[in-house]
Each structure stands twice: as structure tokens, then as C-alpha cells.
């Protein structure tokens, strides 16, 4: 007994399109130097990203058009595929910068970890929405156990993404359960576990030391360069395209540290504006989630909200050296084809849910 699909969320669509355009402009600015120096082509990164963006737009459009309820029966197979891909990347993946994260199919390369995020969202939305409410306490444990394999597989060589997946899962389970207290325990247990985990290996503690005094450590170079970029931005920045830090000082300016160079070029105002845009996005996900006709749709939207929020918050926190350095990209802005492809697919999913909103 479903309502007829209405119009998709226009605000969300507008925000996404704006972010995309903004992201491409900024990406060109950030990557032109590295592209020229390494590949003799200022537009090298831009072109590759544009290709992924085109694919992603097509995917977004396609996904937005379908009825998201259809995906319910694909939730488990899609998850199994992500497990298979993440397993395959460990065996056949291409290493880049020392991490084995890419699967190559012909000229195209693909990061299974990016695919794992929507797969987990879909899986948990499917499982939780069909869950027996009476046994919800035990179900929490069961659901956690279900996603542990993917967390383990992804975490083998991409700890940051594993943490994001885990974070998405915790948020979705948090929504599924009326209680608050158990999650406080989970939070405390999580921090305790993290503390033990960090102190087990000295190199992890070193990361903490670098975080506190980045300028004293060679490995703090990236952080320090990011801070230089942010600090030299001031209120209004050097102006688009005028960053000096992107000229090889901030390593891989088009990747994780892109926000620092945005700060340098566009200043505090530009950076805050971008953060507001992300907040608008997250707000729309919340609106879609709370107006979804059923729990499945609501959880999909909430999962996507969690995904975007976690990455944005962690990325900015890392770049501003608020938390220790870990490699997390800024959605829609950082360079990365697979990332943008699946981000846009998720946007399609959210738009699809929004079409069925209760008024």
C-alpha cells in the first residue's frame, strides 16, 4: 500500500549540484600544479574526475528514478559482493603509496572500500527494518557481527574507511533502538578499546605525539603544511587559484588535505560557507529520514547522513589538527573517482527516498 512517488528533494539536489560544481572548480585549482609537474597536464586530475563525475551523475539519475523498496531484496547480495570485492583487492589489488586499495578492470581502477559504504548502509537498513522489536537487544549484537567481516577486510589496508563503516553502522543501530544508555556504554567501551589499541604499538602512540607537536616530527610534515595553508588564508584568502602551499608544499593537495588549501585560497569565509553547505546537505538527509514513509527508507537516508557527516567532520578535524592525522577524504571535493561515483549513487538513493516522503 505505497503512496505514489512525488517529487524528489529539490534542496538536496541543488546542494549536491552546487557542491559538485564547486568541487570541480576547486579540484582543478588544487591539482593543476601536481598534474603539470607529474603528468605535464594541468587538467590531468580534473579530466579523470570529470569522467567519474559523469558516470556518477548517470548513476545518481538512475538510482533516483527507481523505487528504493526494490533494493531491499538486493541488500544482502550487494553486501556479499562488497565482501567479495574487498577480499579480491587484498589478493589482486594494485598498490599505490604502499596501500593495496585498487582493483583494475582494463583502464579503469576501482576502490572496493568506497562501494562497501553504500553496501553496508543498504544491508543495515534492510536488516534493521525487518528486525523483531522484542529482541532488539540481542539483534544489536547480531548486526554488529554481520558487518565485522567487511570492517575487517577493509580495515586490513584502509583503517580510516573501516572506521567510517563502523561509525555508519553504530549510528544506524543507534537509531534502531529506543534506548540511549547502551550506546553510551558502547561509546565508552569504544574509547577504552581505542586507548588500548593505540598503546599496544608505539608507532600509534607516535601518531598522538605528532598530533600534539606536528612541527617536531618528520611525519608531521603534512599536518604542518596544512596548518600553514589554513593560517595563511586569513579572513578572505589569497583568492581562487593563488595558493602557494598547493605548489608541492602540501603533499597531494588534491586529496585529503584539500580543505586546507581551500582555506588558503578562499579564507575563513569560503571555508565556513563550504561547511554550511555540508550542514545543509546533512540537514536535508535528516529531513528525508524523518519524513520517509517507512523505516527502510528512513534508515537509508540516516545512513547516508551518517556517512557524509562522519567524513566531513573527520576530514576537517584532521586538517585543522583537531584530531590525529588519518586519511579521510572530503566528500565531493577531494580527488577520487570511485568515491564520487558512489557518493552520487548514494545521493540518488536519498533522492529516491525523498520522492516517497510523507508530508
Amino acid at each position: 500500500m505505497r503512496a505514489k512517488p512525488g517529487k524528489a528533494d529539490g534542496v538536496l539536489l541543488a546542494a549536491v549540484v552546487f557542491l559538485m560544481v564547486f568541487g570541480m572548480v576547486v579540484l582543478y585549482s588544487m591539482s593543476a600544479y601536481n598534474g603539470r609537474v607529474r603528468f605535464g597536464d594541468s587538467a590531468y586530475y580534473f579530466k579523470k574526475q570529470l569522467f567519474a563525475l559523469a558516470l556518477g551523475l548517470a548513476a545518481m539519475y538512475g538510482v533516483a528514478r527507481i523505487d528504493y523498496h526494490v533494493l531491499l531484496k538486493f541488500s544482502v547480495p550487494a553486501y556479499l559482493v562488497s565482501l567479495a570485492l574487498s577480499g579480491a583487492v587484498l589478493l589482486f589489488g594494485d598498490a599505490y603509496n604502499g596501500s593495496r586499495r585498487w582493483l583494475s578492470i582494463g583502464p579503469l581502477s576501482f576502490q572496493p572500500a568506497e562501494y562497501a559504504k553504500p553496501a553496508v548502509i543498504l544491508l543495515l537498513a534492510g536488516v534493521v527494518s525487518r528486525m523483531n522489536r522484542r529482541k532488539s537487544g540481542r539483534m544489536i549484537l547480531a548486526v554488529m557481527l554481520m558487518i565485522l567481516p567487511i570492517v575487517g577486510l577493509v580495515g586490513t589496508n584502509n583503517l580510516s574507511t573501516a572506521v567510517i563503516i563502523l561509525g555508519i553502522a553504530v549510528l544506524m543501530i543507534f537509531i534502531s533502538n529506543p534506548k540511549y544508555l547502551p550506546f553510551l556504554w558502547i561509546l565508552l567501551a569504544g574509547s577504552g578499546f581505542l586507548g588500548i589499541f593505540l598503546s599496544l604499538e608505539s608507532y600509534r602512540l607516535e601518531r598522538l605525539a605528532i598530533w600534539r607537536n606536528p612541527e617536531l616530527y618528520e611525519k608531521g610534515f603534512q599536518t604542518v603544511q596544512g596548518l600553514y595553508a589554513i593560517g595563511s588564508g586569513g579572513l578572505f584568502g589569497r583568492g581562487l587559484g593563488n595558493s602557494l602551499q598547493k605548489l608541492g608544499f602540501v603533499p597531494e593537495a588534491q586529496n585529503d588535505m584539500i580543505f586546507s588549501v581551500i582555506c588558503e585560497e578562499l579564507g575563513l569565509f569560503g571555508a565556513l560557507l563550504l561547511m554550511l553547505l555540508f550542514l545543509l546537505l546533512i540537514w536535508r538527509f535528516m529531513v528525508i529520514a524523518t519524513h520517509a514513509p517507512d523505516l527502510f527508507g528512513s534508515l537509508i537516508a540516516a545512513g547516508i547522513m551518517g556517512h557524509i557527516a562522519i567524513q566531513v567532520i573527520l576530514n576537517i578535524a584532521v586538517v585543522t589538527n583537531t584530531i590525529p592525522n588519518t586519511g579521510i577524504t572530503l566528500p565531493f571535493i577531494s580527488y577520487g573517482g570511485t568515491s564520487v561515483l558512489f557518493l552520487l549513487s548514494e545521493m540518488g538513493l536519498a533522492l529516491s527516498v525523498s520522492r516517497y516522503s510523507r508530508i
Binding site: M286, A292, I313
Partner: protein, 610 residues
């Protein structure tokens, strides 16, 4: 399908609020970084991005006393290529190879090398640099630079010294007055990327260099030229190893000329003159006993005259040495001026005292010979000086005794360096007082068994005959800006009394008599009153039969305004100072005295009171 329940929605709102809160916190953090700490990080980033290129300051010139430029600067260019900015490499290679007269492969290698900036050639003439600049080739950089240039080539080479590639003084006045001459380099600040490549469109800030001050010296171009001509002439005539001539003002210590021929070309200081090849050198270095062994070893290792490495550097160092101040020698009879001054000042001898010279004098168990084997017979002290009679001075020395002799040696300033404004002045090599017996004292009295530098002798004699005050020999007179505005005058000690006026006057007249009728008569110039003393000393080891002939003279004898010292190392044939060195000083004085405006006396006989 389950419906959402209120708590689901509530929790979704909670998550959103949590995210909003986190973003708010990060926004605050960002504002802190970009406002409060902005300056801190911006400064650090600025330091990181800026590359400093220094602009050489024009080095101050060195002028002679009349403003003739002895050391100048010439604008030269450095041609470099910036790989990333080159648009047409073939054209760049063609033009640079043609204009710089370099082989094409050399230029090609530089142009095609992937580096931020590559020097193609330094010290390119300004005209060529301008021509290259006029091609307007992208990626070719022509930087102007100064290079030291010595208009008179080898003139006063060992005094002026030269500069190295970085325009810093290496020897001579160039080192001594580095601070005044060097100026303050300017800076060009440019922004670069992480590889150090300059960014073309960011502009540059410039700090202009401050040129060094010109150094005005006491050198006189003309006197220096006469001195060098005279030195070369006598060196050639006598086939001597080297000749040193020093001309100075005995009243204030200003040095008008100092030459040690052979002089080297200041514009090409690293090319060894044939005279300084180790083979030629062995004969000369005997003056320094310690050098003998070393030069023998050198001769073997550098057979074939193709010097490399250390041997070449040693030879160059010998060529650059300023014998007048860097080397010591046994002064011989010129030192009798010191003994005479001490004896007269102490009152142990008077001009009319009579002595007897049988051709030798026995001191303790030694028989010390006079240079005149048959002896000078009966003579007064005046005649003793005229004859340069060794026994007379041995007698004076012995009358003074070791204590008094050493105290005068000290009082006259012989134990300290003269303080001349050139680097590397050698110290006096003297016996330890406790080791000096009568025999040593006797030899010291006529200038043997110890060593001093020529400049020490000239400075001490100047001080003894100028009225008795110790002067500091020097070149530096003042510093001035390029436009001639005076920025500083050097002061030298010149009021330390070392001898009474009376004794000083007496010495002047005694030494005038040496020239008038004694061993220094070859320095006599009709119409001028000239004082002086000759010397002929045998170098160590005595068995080599090598001599140093010298003459020290001053004029006018009653009011000395110029003093000259000529030292001839290892002359062949006649080696008496009075015969070969005195005429050199006479020749100098004949030119210098009129040049300095010193008038001839009307009739000499009427003025001599003696």
C-alpha cells in the same frame, strides 16, 4: 514493512544536532587558526615560500694617494638558463653557443638539464651579456655582477692583493680592509614552489645593495711604478732571485711604494710565474733555513714543472708572499743604525771616540772578522760607521752589555710587530736573552744571528731618524664614498718616544756622512742631503755563498721626508750593498725627491756643519 516510530525520528534529529554541534566546533577551531594564529602560520609559510637571491654589492675601489684607481670593478654577466621557462631550446642552444663561444654540446647539456636554474657561463663581458639579453629568449637569464679588475695588472700585486670568486679578499689590502671594501649585499626575494622553482607572476621584493667604501691608500702610483722598474732592472742586471723596494714617509709611516719583484698579475693571480716554480725557488729559500729540506723534497716530486694540488698551492703561496712583511732576514750592517742609536743614547760611545780595527775582534774564544780583512786601523766612531766596521760595533755592543742592549731592542719596538695594515706580518726571530753571551751579543751588534722583516727595519730606522718617535708603517689613509665624501680616517700611533731628539739628530748626521764619504757614497745625489747605511749579509747556510745586499737611505738628511729600503736577494757577481743596492735607492731618490717637491739645497758644503 515497518514504519518509522517517533524515537527513530528523534534519534535522527539527535544525530543531526550532534553533527551540527561538531561542525560548529570545527568552525570555531578554524576561526581560531585563521584569525588568531593566522599571522603566525602565514609568517612561517612566507619563510617557506621565499627564496633569497643576493645581489652583490659593488666592492669599494682602492685608490692611491692622488686618487688613481688601483683596484676597480668591472661589470660582468652571468648567463643562466631556467629549464621550465625555455620555449625554444634549439634557438637558445644556437644563440648561447654562438655568443658565448662555447661548444654546442656543452650548451646543450646545460639547456637540456632538468633543473631549476643552470649556469651556462660566468664572467661574460657586459657587451655580450647585453647582446644575449636583446635576443629576448624565454628562459635565458642574464644577471649582472661585479668583478674585481686591476687596471695596472701586476702593480703592487703583493700589497693590493686580489679577491676570489665570491669577491672576497684573499690576500693583501683586499683582506685587511674587507669590511670597508665589501659593502652590504642586497637581496631579491622571490616566491618559489616546493622544488625551488621561482614563480613568474608573483613579483619580487628587492633590497638594494650598499656599495663598499673606497679605500684611499698612501701608495703613490708614480713612486710605485719607479720602484718596480728599478727593482726589475737591478734584478735582471744582477740575476737576483728577487728584489724588494720599500719607500715610505719616515715621519708618519705612510708607505709610498712597496714592491717585491717578480710581481704577479692581479687579474690572473692563479697562473704561476716561471720564477716561482719550485726549481727556481730552491736557491732563494736558503735564506730561511727551515725551507731547504722542504724544497729539495719538492724538487723531486714536481719534476717536469707540471705542478698539481698541494705543490701548486705552495708555489702560488710563495708567489703571493709579500717578502717585505711576510719574510724575515738577517739585516746585517743596516742594523748598525740600531746599535749606534742605542750606544749613543746610553752614552757608552761618542762620535769622536776612537777605535782600532786590526781586521777582527776577539770575543771570548772567538775571532770575529771584519769585512775588511786587513782592518780599518785607527778610526773614530764616525769613521767606524762610514766604514761599517764590525769591530767598532762589537765594541759598542759589548759596552752596552746584554741587558741594556736588549732593553733598547725592546724600546725601539723590535720585539713587537710593526702593526702594518697587511695580513701575515712575521715576527722578529731573536735569541732568548738568557742564551745570549758576549759572542751572540757581538754578532747581534752588527746585524747577524737574528732575523727581522724588511718593514720592521724600515719602520725602526724611520723612527730613529725622524726625531725619535715610533711610527706605524701603513697603507690605509682613509675611506670615502664613491662620490669622494670622506667617511673615515685611519689613525695610527706615532707619538711613542723611543729615542731622544738629540740622538736622533746625531744619527741623521752620522748616516749622512756614510753617504757623503763612507760605504754609502753610491747613494749620493748632487744637491741633496742623503743619509743611509749599506749592508751585505750572507744567507744561511753560510757555505752556500749567497748574499743579501741592501741599502736603507733617507732624504733630506736634516729633515727626512722619504726613506727607501732596497733589498737584493742572491745577486750574482758583485754583491756589496754599497755597490749594487745603494745606486738603486739613489736612482729612486733622483726621481722621487723632485716629484715630492723636495728642493735641492743650494750648496751642500755650506750647510754641513760637521
Amino acid at each position: 514493512m515497518q514504519k518509522t516510530r517517533p524515537f527513530h525520528r528523534r534519534k535522527e534529529v539527535v544525530i543531526f544536532l550532534g553533527c551540527a554541534l561538531a561542525l560548529l566546533g570545527l568552525g570555531g577551531r578554524l576561526a581560531h587558526l585563521m584569525v588568531a594564529e593566522s599571522e603566525h602560520y602565514a609568517t612561517l609559510a612566507q619563510d617557506l615560500h621565499e627564496r633569497e637571491r643576493s645581489i652583490k654589492a659593488a666592492r669599494g675601489r682602492i685608490l692611491d694617494r692622488n686618487g688613481i684607481v688601483l683596484a676597480d670593478n668591472r661589470t660582468v654577466c652571468t648567463v643562466s638558463v631556467i629549464h621550465s621557462q625555455i620555449e625554444d631550446p634549439e634557438q637558445v642552444i644556437d644563440v648561447l653557443a654562438k655568443e658565448l663561444e662555447l661548444p654546442e654540446e656543452t650548451v646543450r647539456r646545460r639547456v637540456e638539464k632538468v633543473s631549476s636554474i643552470e649556469r651556462v657561463r660566468q664572467n661574460v663581458d657586459k657587451e655580450i651579456g647585453d647582446r644575449i639579453r636583446n635576443y629576448g629568449l624565454a628562459g635565458v637569464k642574464v644577471d649582472e655582477d661585479y668583478r674585481r679588475y686591476y687596471p695596472f695588472g701586476s702593480m703592487a700585486s703583493k700589497v693590493l692583493g686580489f679577491t676570489g670568486g665570491d669577491n672576497q679578499g684573499i690576500i693583501g689590502l683586499e683582506v685587511e680592509y674587507e669590511e670597508e671594501l665589501s659593502g652590504t649585499p642586497g637581496r631579491i626575494l622571490t616566491l618559489t614552489d616546493a622544488r625551488g622553482v621561482e614563480l613568474a607572476d608573483t613579483g619580487e621584493s628587492r633590497e638594494e645593495p650598499v656599495a663598499g667604501n673606497d679605500l684611499v691608500t698612501s701608495l703613490d702610483y708614480n713612486i710605485q711604478k719607479y720602484a718596480e722598474q728599478a727593482a726589475y732592472q737591478v734584478m735582471e742586471q744582477k740575476q737576483a732571485d728577487s728584489v724588494s723596494i720599500l719607500i715610505m714617509n719616515p715621519k708618519n709611516g705612510e708607505i709610498y711604494a712597496m714592491t717585491n719583484v717578480p710581481e704577479f698579475d692581479l687579474n690572473d693571480p692563479f697562473t704561476l710565474l716561471p720564477e716561482y716554480l719550485p726549481d727556481a725557488q730552491t736557491e732563494e729559500t736558503d735564506a730561511q733555513t727551515e725551507a731547504a729540506g722542504a724544497s729539495d723534497a719538492e724538487k723531486q716530486s714536481t719534476a717536469g714543472n707540471t705542478l698539481t694540488g698541494e705543490a701548486l698551492q705552495d708555489a702560488l703561496n710563495r708567489m703571493w708572499r709579500n717578502g717585505c712583511i711576510n719574510d724575515t732576514y738577517e739585516p746585517g750592517s743596516t742594523f748598525k743604525i740600531i746599535t749606534a742609536s742605542a750606544g749613543l743614547e746610553a752614552g757608552v760611545v761618542k762620535p769622536e771616540d776612537s777605535f782600532s780595527c786590526p781586521g777582527f775582534k776577539i770575543v771570548e774564544d772567538r775571532r770575529i772578522r771584519c769585512h775588511k780583512v786587513g782592518g780599518h786601523g785607527a778610526e773614530t766612531f764616525v769613521q767606524g760607521i762610514q766604514n761599517s766596521c764590525n769591530p767598532v760595533f762589537i765594541e759598542v755592543g759589548l759596552r752596552l752589555g746584554v741587558d741594556r742592549y736588549f732593553s733598547y731592542f725592546d724600546q725601539f719596538g723590535l720585539n713587537e710587530k710593526t702593526g702594518i695594515d697587511l695580513p701575515g706580518e712575521a715576527a722578529t726571530i731573536m735569541h732568548k736573552k738568557e742564551n745570549v753571551g758576549e759572542v751572540e751579543l757581538a754578532t747581534i751588534s752588527f746585524g747577524q744571528s737574528f732575523q727581522i722583516t724588511p718593514v720592521q727595519l724600515a719602520a725602526t730606522v724611520s723612527s730613529l731618524i725622524n726625531g725619535g718617535t715610533r711610527i706605524t708603517p701603513h697603507f690605509g689613509v682613509s675611506v670615502q664614498a664613491e662620490d669622494g665624501a670622506l667617511t673615515g680616517v685611519f689613525r695610527y700611533d706615532d707619538d711613542r718616544r723611543i729615542l731622544s731628539e738629540e740622538t736622533s739628530g746625531l744619527m741623521r748626521s752620522l748616516l749622512e756622512q756614510v753617504v757623503d764619504g763612507g760605504s754609502g757614497k753610491n747613494a749620493y745625489i748632487e744637491g741633496y742631503r742623503i743619509g743611509g747605511k749599506t749592508a751585505t749579509s750572507e744567507t744561511l747556510p753560510r757555505s752556500a755563498n749567497k748574499y743579501i745586499s741592501s741599502f736603507i737611505g733617507f732624504a733630506p738628511a736634516d729633515d727626512p721626508q722619504v726613506l727607501g729600503l732596497c733589498i737584493i736577494n742572491n745577486p750574482q757577481g758583485v754583491y756589496y750593498g754599497g755597490t749594487i743596492a745603494a745606486p738603486v735607492v739613489r736612482g729612486m731618490f733622483e726621481n722621487i725627491l723632485p716629484y715630492l717637491g723636495i728642493e735641492k739645497a743650494k750648496s751642500k758644503e755650506t750647510e754641513v756643519k760637521q
